[in-house]
Amino acid sequence: MTRRSLNLRAALVSVLIFAAFIGAWHLATRGIGAVQQMDPEYAKLMGATATQGKSAMPGPLDVGAKLWEHLRRPFYDNGPNDKGLGIQIAYSIARVAIGYFLAIAVAIPIGFMIGMSPLMNKALDPFIQVLKPISPLAWMPLALYTIKDSGLSAIFVIFICSLWPMMINTAFGVSAVRKEWLNVARTLEVGTLRRAFTVILPAAAPTIVTGMRISIGIAWLVIVAAEMLVGGTGIGYFVWNEWNNLSITNVINAILLIGLVGMVLDQILARAARLVTFPE
């Protein structure tokens, strides 16, 4: 069997699974017809759940209709509690981006230092071991108290959760650079800075980018929870707000979007990893 036909068959199975899921969802949530005779005016007030035996859980058609609505007007702004999904997701992506790039700026130089110096490696190890397992949200009260700004606190939480995988992977990648490559640089009398950029960085890049990929995944997981706490804007806030509005349709749409954006972020880093990987 050629690879093409395998892809084709896999796509077919994916479509079948998707169709089966949508079908089952539709069947499980559809109305079963009039269950109660009541005054039409009263019935209007009661809604389809009471009159048609429809599940309170929205069906795929409701979600699809709402999604179409969101896609047609992603950036509307009707005040603090009613913004388009596009605006909300943009807020979340911006927070993740700022916190994540700050983390890169801190983690990679420190990771380099730890990787190159056995002394710093040993000296910083206890701190990293203690700080790494702390849930990023546990920092939130401390951040709110010291920064006194909920938006910046969310960014700080993203920063702190993105920091560790990148730092640890950078340190590992740098310390694991093959001795023979370093010896090549030594015999060519390459200076420390040039060696760092021309030998250590390219050699450690695949490991570093792997750390960055882990970090972006965690950051995207954490932003939803952080925004639920800090409120105001962002996809996490949107989810919680729609839960308070009892709009399960919107919650499902938001969940779908969170998954899609997370996938795109991961793919960007996967692409970057492919760029820096070298075959040996």
Binding site: E180, V184, R186, T187, L188, E189, F278, P279, E280
Partner: protein, 299 residues
């Protein structure tokens, strides 16, 4: 030895071990002339690679110094190019990139065109024209080692250090590369120091073959001066009347004398390593200890 270009002066290497120190080798004295090809042969563990790393400046001797061109060496230098046992090319760079990296390390003010021209010259010299843009992963083992040779030669070093450069190659490729190295060394008059396990390789390439005894406590027992003519070629080298005299002498040493040389040679002066020319100096000096040993075993 009027022109003592490189000189090992009483170098030793010791490592801390439980209950004292382990001496890998000690009191090594050796002088090499400019343009000479020197091979070191010895069993694993005698510290050959350590000697080479000390010459390269990658390792420091516990005692003694190494003098190159009247200066004691302090660390690695662009004057001494190393061809490593594993090819040790940078896998993210192309053939051109690897050689150019060395060239631009030596001549830091050169512009890109000058660097490329110099790199290209040495890529051509090792016969890799047309493969400039390949990455090491796309090359065969022999081609990788050629890139390593081009990289070492491109910085026009005062001496080349080779650590078993061909041991990972198949016999056919090894032969071709030995021919290339011999041709290049003769053309460029390169001073070369090479470590090998292969007796035939040493006889084919080297002007002088240094025999090391087994470690720990290894010493340089003899310097075999290669009596074969400079014009020797691979196809009929083994037909030369002196070939087997040299070969047998070296193999006798490796099989028998390398283990027992230190005990059997009291009063051995490591500063005056005997120079032998098997088949030319007759009878071999000192008396062939292998015969003595075999005789004593017969009892």
């Amino acid at each position: 030895m009027a022109d003592k270009f490189i000189s090992l002066e009483g170098i030793a290497k010791r490592y801390p071990a439980p209950g004292g120190t382990t001496t890998i080798f000690e009191n090594l004295w050796l002088a090499m002339n400019r343009g000479e090809f020197t091979c070191v042969i010895g069993h694993s563990g005698c510290g050959k690679t350590t000697v080479l790393n000390i010459l390269a400046g990658l390792d420091q001797p516990s005692e003694g110094t190494v003098i190159v061109d009247n200066l004691a060496i302090e660390g690695p230098s662009l004057d001494r190019a190393v061809i490593f046992q594993g090819h040790s090319l940078l896998p993210w760079r192309t053939v051109m990139g690897n050689v150019a990296y060395a060239v631009s390390s030596k001549w830091r003010r050169w512009n890109a065109a000058q660097v490329r021209a110099q790199a290209q010259k040495f890529i051509d010299l090792v016969g890799l024209t047309g493969s400039e843009h390949k990455r090491p992963s796309e090359l065969s083992g022999g081609m990788k080692q050629r890139v390593g040779i081009a990289r070492a030669l491109s910085i026009q070093p005062k001496m080349m250090l080779m650590d078993e450069p061909f041991s990972a190659l198949d016999a056919l490729t090894r032969g071709t590369l030995q021919d290339e190295v011999r041709r290049i060394c003769q053309e460029t008059g390169q001073t070369t120091f090479m470590i090998t396990h292969d007796v035939d390789e040493a006889i084919y390439l080297a002007d002088r073959i240094v025999l090391m005894t087994n470690g720990p406590g290894a010493v340089m027992a003899e310097v075999v001066e290669n009596p074969l003519p400079k014009s020797r070629v691979r196809i009929d080298i083994h037909k030369h009347p002196l070939y087997y005299a040299v070969r047998n002498h070296i193999i006798d040493f490796l099989v028998m004398r390398s283990r027992t040389f230190v005990e059997q040679t009291p009063g051995f002066d490591p500063r005056k390593v005997p120079v032998v020319r098997p088949g030319v100096d007759a009878p071999p000096m000192p008396p062939d200890s292998t015969v003595v040993r075999l005789a004593s075993h017969a009892h």
